[in-house]
């Protein structure tokens, strides 16, 4: 399995854990694995995030993906029972969309780009 795909799965798992800790008990996770970019969507209809939490989520994904951090420390994501690793998640994926509506719940779409090097190898 491609490591980019595995890392996106870890990211989604951590966001799932975040929504669970925020009180959601019905979370949907879906993926779309593409050649150049893969996406994951995590949605929870039974919660509405306060402004501070929404800002926190946006802040987590503020800044570029850091492959050197994701590649080495990415295995820590999703492993801890008693705490979150959202900051690390922010270095592993890009925020595509975040919707937070009362009644409709919260949905977040994240993406991860296939590394250029691998894409170039395939093209040969």
């Amino acid at each position: 399995m491609k490591s980019d795909a595995t890392q996106l799965m870890r990211v989604a798992e951590e966001v799932l854990k975040y929504f669970y800790l925020k009180g959601s008990r019905s979370v949907k996770v879906s993926y779309d694995f593409g050649e150049e970019r893969s996406f994951c969507a995590v949605s929870a209809k039974d919660i509405f995030l306060p402004v501070a939490d929404e800002e926190y989520l946006r802040r987590v994904f503020d800044g570029p993906v850091q492959p050197e951090v994701a590649n080495y420390y990415g295995t820590l994501v999703g492993r801890r029972r008693d705490s979150l690793e959202m900051e690390l998640v922010g270095a592993m994926a890009e925020l595509e969309d975040l919707r937070n509506e009362e009644g409709s719940g919260v949905a977040i779409i994240l993406s991860r780009r296939e590394i250029d090097y691998r894409t170039a190898q395939k093209a040969r």
């Binding site: 590649n71 295995t75 801890r80 922010g90």
Partner: protein
């Protein structure tokens, strides 16, 4: 209710990364100038010193300052930092907390074990791992930089075992590259044991690999030659210059971040667990302030315990300053340091022993335990680390320069399940 499309704010990290490169260049300049001044701008003395450094077996503890004096040791550190900067530049990565920590660690350990010749096999091994994994080298740069922990293996094979030239160089290079290659996958796996509560994860990994290497040497009845070299250098020959460095970090940080008081308060509330990239989360300005403050605190502790200001101790000091951009701050670092000091005084080792003094600085590797579970847990982790570090060195025979990282991994990995269980029990989650 909000339902507006998200417009990413301009990223500060990329700007901070550019400034951080300048900081690392400043570190190179500081080391190089100090080295040149200390040798009296005498190139012959400098080259002779560098030659002696390269040819010496580097098994712990080999203080370059005791072999060649202060100047060549500092200049060697400058060259190693320059090599790291070239690799970082070629990798085109953003310079943030982990990279700053890695470069300062290289600078520190280049005063007692890493040199401009023995770091390359490890870099080559990490590069080959990236090629074999079909990933860019930049993704593996952190492991590559920290992975120079096993550099003494190459020096020992090349100059300590009596193998004829050029076979000694060839075998040393291959052996260093092999362990550099193996470090990359094993380091990721090793994180699982302590789950980020040991900041020197490569030290833990290198300890495991070094133990395997040492077992091989023993099985083949090969005796390692390294000795114990420890210079006695008074504080006043180093402290003024280092104080100027730390002060300039603090002033630069204050200029960069006008709201540093509030930002520093937030930084101090961070547990410091891996991955706590202070540059990414709080900005470079406040990270520099933390680096300067941690430099002064570590210096004060060195004065308190009457340490010699030699290569290994300055290595510990530089490592603390570097990791102040990547997990360490006064709140999470002092409890384990106090725990180690208490254990040193209670044990037969005492405060004056070089091993004890090194442990008191490097015990900050378990700072995240204090950051996450409180000062009492940090104090206990410091005590546990101190007793472990006195014996684990025999497992790898001093081949692993990050001996405290090895002990820290064991201490954090052993204490963590208990602390986790206690927390869950108190929250009635069990």
């Amino acid at each position: 209710m909000t339902n507006e499309p998200f417009i990413p704010p301009p990223s500060d990290l990329e700007l901070d990364a550019k400034r951080a490169r300048v900081l690392l260049l400043g570190l190179f300049a500081f080391l190089a100038v100090f080295g040149l001044v200390a040798t009296g701008f005498n190139p012959e003395r400098l080259l002779r010193g560098l030659g002696a450094i390269i040819l010496s077996p580097d098994i712990l503890i080999n203080d370059y300052m005791s072999i060649t004096g202060v100047g060549p040791a500092y200049f060697n550190a400058a060259l190693c930092v320059l090599a790291a900067l070239i690799l970082i530049n070629a990798s085109r990565i953003n310079v943030s907390g982990p990279v700053i920590a890695a470069v300062f660690t290289i600078a520190g350990f280049a005063l007692f074990g890493k040199n401009i010749a023995n770091i390359w096999p490890g870099f080559l091994g990490a590069f080959l791992y990236s090629r074999a994994s079909r990933r860019p080298f930049g993704e593996n740069i952190i492991v590559a930089l920290f992975g120079t922990a096993l550099a003494p293996l190459s020096s020992e094979i090349a100059f300590g075992l009596g193998i004829a030239t050029p076979w000694n160089i060839a075998i040393a290079f291959v052996a260093g590259a092999v362990v550099g290659f193996l470090l990359s996958p094993v380091a990721r796996h090793a994180l699982d044991f302590h789950r980020g509560y040991n900041l020197y994860n490569i030290g833990f990994t290198a300890g495991l690999i070094g133990t395997v290497a040492m077992s091989g040497f023993k099985a083949l009845d090969i005796q390692l030659t390294g000795g114990f070299n420890w210079a006695e250098i008074p504080a006043m020959s180093m402290l003024p210059y280092l104080s100027a460095l730390f002060l300039s970090l603090i002033i630069a940080g204050m200029i960069m971040d006008r709201g540093w008081v509030a930002a520093y308060r937030r930084l101090l509330s961070s547990p410091g667990r891996l991955v706590s990239d202070f540059v990414r989360y709080y900005g470079l300005g406040v990270s520099l302030i933390n680096m300067g403050i941690m430099g002064f605190i570590a210096s004060a502790i060195m004065l308190l315990i009457g340490a010699s200001w030699n290569g290994p101790m300055l290595g510990g000091l530089f490592t603390i300053v570097g990791f102040a951009a990547f997990g360490k701050h006064p709140r999470n670092t002092l409890p384990p340091m106090l725990g180690a000091m208490a254990m040193a005084m209670m044990s037969r080792y005492g405060l004056a022993a070089p091993g004890s003094q090194l442990a008191i600085l490097f015990v900050s590797t378990v700072a995240p335990v204090a950051g996450e579970y409180g000062p009492v847990a940090g104090f206990v982790a410091g005590m546990l680390h101190f007793v472990l570090v006195q014996v684990v060195g025999t497992l790898h025979g001093g081949l692993n320069l990050y001996n405290n990282g090895f002990a820290g991994g064991l201490a954090a990995g052993l204490i963590l399940p208990v602390l986790e269980w206690l927390r869950e029990w108190r929250r009635h989650e069990i």
